[in-house]
């Protein structure tokens, strides 16, 4: 009898599970605004760079805002911050030379943060830049921030022991990729790197050997945060940074929890972007994406003012998407992380073959194979829509017949290399089946996922096609097109130009646009994007990642920043 009872119970259980799952899956488009048009400006009027930040509707001061994340933040030292979570956490406890005013919908304005304006291009040749530090900006101990501390912060990023951060400014000052050999920070702690001067306590001056019109953008990275030399604890600063922002790190149990409390010396009137509504910020580390999502779905009392950093777990996307109440607590925006099918032009030298690849690709199918439209959004351009000056175009509208006629009877045999991680194999199968319909013969080569990036970045790699992604450090074509397609930068290993395209006309065009004023560059990059696609077709643009995160019912004001595509907390508040 007992076994029958167990059997019956099992049957009932199985039936419930089956019936529970038996709801119809209908085809609905996600409401991710993939066609949103980005706009960007550089604020020249110092008023735009002054605080206080525009109030958020319905926001109230107070409360504790919690962020849960699977792993700890690799670096907290502002000079070493470069991970996405670090880049979006640093604004809580550090201020930079410049920063982005961002509506979370792609409309950004570069403003001064510590600086009164986002830089003055002194001779209009992008070689000499000046920044004036605001009055009334203070550290967590109440001492005033001057150009000296900002300069010291930049100087210490030359220290090879403090690696991990961005290297743009160091390379530009030293005019050499091996900047730490040009100027030794440890031996010259009381002086400044070549080209960096502080004529007075308010002024910071950069003098470069070459034109670098992107400096105002590069200065928005946390590496320009100030630090008094006396407070420099070297590698220890990673555990306890010295705050210049609205919060200070008061308790840091590394890898477990971080507690931020208000820095009473921070003055809202000097700050154009940070509202700093919550009294405290807490970061808790440990739960994976699935656990985070399940906790936020349950919305328990302690999780109501919580955001799950790692996003909605892919196994739960359909569950969240199918429930309007849960959907209301999510943020979903396209990110600047753009994926493309890179074509190794050293091996696939025939332009018609590369064009046929572009005609053949079935993007709706790729989006489905990549996990659906809440994971990725189709893309037909090399630059993602978040880039300033972005213009949507499709140089090769998908058409299998057109691909066949472009091939003109050829059946190119190409090798697609993929990593052995989960997800990659579906994409590989998708690409293979897709392209073989157009007459290609595709071989899939699986290699260990952890070495795939290094291997494809080798100039003489033996493969023809690979999936690549790129997320620019600032939303300018300058941080994307020349990096990925300037053939003069090709070296033996570690290439970002994984298409290995080298075209003199395009290279010259890069130089011309890079020398323009930053504001004038934006439309030129969009034109160049189209020209590269039409004339060279060095890659097949596929899709941009979509950020899909969930938050508790009492969270307000969080937005997906338009620069990196991750949750940003400058306007966050706890609903009272």
């Amino acid at each position: 009898m007992r076994s029958r009872a167990i059997l019956a119970a099992g049957g009932v259980l199985a039936l419930t599970v089956a019936l529970g799952a038996c709801s119809e899956n209908k085809n609905t488009d996600s409401d991710v605004d993939t066609d949103r048009v980005a706009s960007g400006a550089i604020a020249t009027d110092p008023k735009d760079s002054m605080g206080p930040a525009k109030a958020v509707e319905g926001a109230a001061k107070g409360g504790t805002f919690t962020v849960i994340r699977q792993t700890k933040i690799s670096h907290m030292d502002p000079q070493r911050v470069y991970s996405f979570v670090g880049l979006n956490t640093a604004p809580l406890y550090a201020r930079f030379l410049t920063t982005w005013k961002d509506d979370g919908k792609g409309n950004v304005t570069l403003v001064g943060d510590l600086a009164e304006t986002p830089g003055v291009n002194v001779n209009k040749d992008c070689k000499v830049w000046e920044f004036k530090i605001k009055d009334g900006v203070k550290f967590e101990d109440g001492t005033a921030i001057t150009s000296k501390e900002v300069a010291y912060g930049i100087a210490r990023s030359f220290d090879p022991d403090l690696s991990g951060g961005p290297t743009y400014i160091q390379e530009w000052l030293a005019n050499d990729a091996a900047f730490d050999t040009k100027w030794d920070f440890k031996a010259n702690k009381t002086s400044l790197p070549p080209g960096l001067t502080t004529p007075d306590a308010k002024t910071l001056r950069f003098e470069f050997a070459k034109a670098h019109c992107d400096l105002p953008f590069a200065a928005s990275l946390p590496a320009t945060a100030p630090l008094p030399p006396a407070k420099d604890t070297g590698v220890e600063l990673d555990n306890k940074p010295f705050s210049s922002g609205p919060y200070k790190l008061v308790k840091n149990t590394v890898g477990v929890e971080m507690l931020f409390e208000r820095n009473e010396h921070w003055d809202a009137n000097t700050d154009p972007v940070r509202n700093a509504y919550p009294d405290k910020f807490v970061y808790k580390f440990g739960p994976n994406a699935e656990a985070q999502t399940n906790r936020l779905i349950a919305d328990g009392a302690e999780d109501q003012a919580t955001l799950g950093w790692n996003g909605v777990d892919s196994s739960l996307v359909a569950k969240v998407a199918g429930d309007a109440a849960l959907m209301g607590r999510t943020l979903r925006e396209p990110t600047p992380s753009a994926w493309r099918l890179s074509i190794n032009t050293q091996r696939v030298a025939d332009l018609s073959v590369r064009q046929a690849l572009n005609y053949a690709i079935d993007r709706p199918g790729m989006v489905k194979a990549a996990g659906g439209d809440l994971k990725v959004a189709a893309l037909t351009t090399l630059m993602p829509p978040s880039t300033l000056g972005f213009k949507k175009f499709d140089a090769y509208p998908a058409d299998i017949e057109k691909a066949k006629s472009t091939l003109a009877g050829k059946t190119p045999e190409l090798v697609l290399v993929i990593g052995d991680d989960s997800g990659a194999q579906e994409l590989g199968t998708q690409v293979k089946n897709n392209l073989e319909k157009a007459g290609f013969k595709i071989t899939i080569k699986v290699i260990p996922a952890d070495s795939k990036l290094d291997e494809t970045k080798k100039k003489n790699n033996p493969w023809d096609l690979y999936l690549d992604s790129w997320a620019a450090d600032w939303p300018s074509g300058a941080a994307l097109l020349p990096v990925l397609f300037d053939g003069r930068t090709i070296k033996a290993e570690g290439n970002s130009n994984t298409s290995y395209i080298n075209n003199d006309a395009i290279n010259a065009e890069f130089d011309r646009v890079l020398a323009l004023d930053p504001a004038a560059q934006a439309p030129e990059w969009a034109k160049l994007d189209e020209r590269i696609m039409k004339e060279l077709a060095p890659a097949v643009p596929l899709y941009a990642d979509v950020m899909f995160v969930m938050q508790g019912s009492k969270v307000g004001g969080v937005y997906i920043d338009s620069i990196f595509g991750y949750p940003a907390f400058t306007r966050a508040f706890v609903k009272q």
């Binding site: 899956n25 659906g372 439209d373």
Partner: protein, 333 residues
Amino acid sequence: MSLSQIETDATGVDATAVPTAPQPGMVGRSPGRLAWARLRANRTAMVSAWIMVFFIVLGMAAPLVELVYGISPFEQFQDKIANNSLPLGYFGGVSGEHWFGLEPQLGRDIFIRLVYGLRTSLFIATSAALLTTALGIVLGIVSGYLGGWIDAVISWVIDFALALPFLIFALAIMPTVTARFYGPRDEIPVPFRIGVMIFLFALFGWTGTARLVRGQVISLREREFVEAARASGAGLFHILFRQLLPNLWAPILVSFSLAVPGYITGEAALSFLGIGVVDPTPDFGVMINKSLSYAQTDPAYLIFPGVAIFLLVLAFNLFGDGLRDALDPKSSR
């Protein structure tokens, strides 16, 4: 050969011997027939056997099933996949055309992939079981009969093989072997992958059978019929495979029938870990690995391959149990 005549006479109790003068009214039955009758009477074993036969026929006839069903295991039906990458409709896209629904993302038909997965799985498991059993028989019988230093060496190798952790060894050897034989632009052919898997199973799996056979042979080698054969001048090969082996079939059959389901799960486990068969080749382990992340949103994708492998392994195991009961009624469960 006159020798075999002597042998049959000498061993009146031999399982293969046919009684010469059946008494009227009583039907004399050989041990084999007795076992067969016991097996026939065991309902669980018979049901399992039918399920087993069904699966084997289905797997072997996979191309035929494809012909009738009209869908290839690699065909993608992405127009039946919603924008959220899950199949349209109810229960993972189950419909008259797609009996078990479609895979999320790529939109391949689950039913035909299961049929082909069955073939992959059964082929690997049976080949591995046959190979390990053959190896185990030869080494066990030689080691048990000859004894001495040969027995010592073989026993030591058995202990050594048993001490090696199979999974770790498999994880290490798979990528190394494939990299050794194929260049950076070559796809690893499916038969090669399957071959390496079978080889790995054989390398580690023969020890059980070998030990079993060795023990049995040690208990048989001093028996009269062996002595008689030896006295008649029979060669080593004859004694091992004509005299001893026929008396060992029962335990060997049982161990074989229980090894097959073991290799089915073993193959699925290796493929689950990504070192066995890989996508796009249809396979249970790969399917279950992929479907795990859909447990909450598309349970049908997990249920169909899960139930299929469960039924397959259960049928093989229950039949193996039934076979043991039939061949050796004295052993208690």
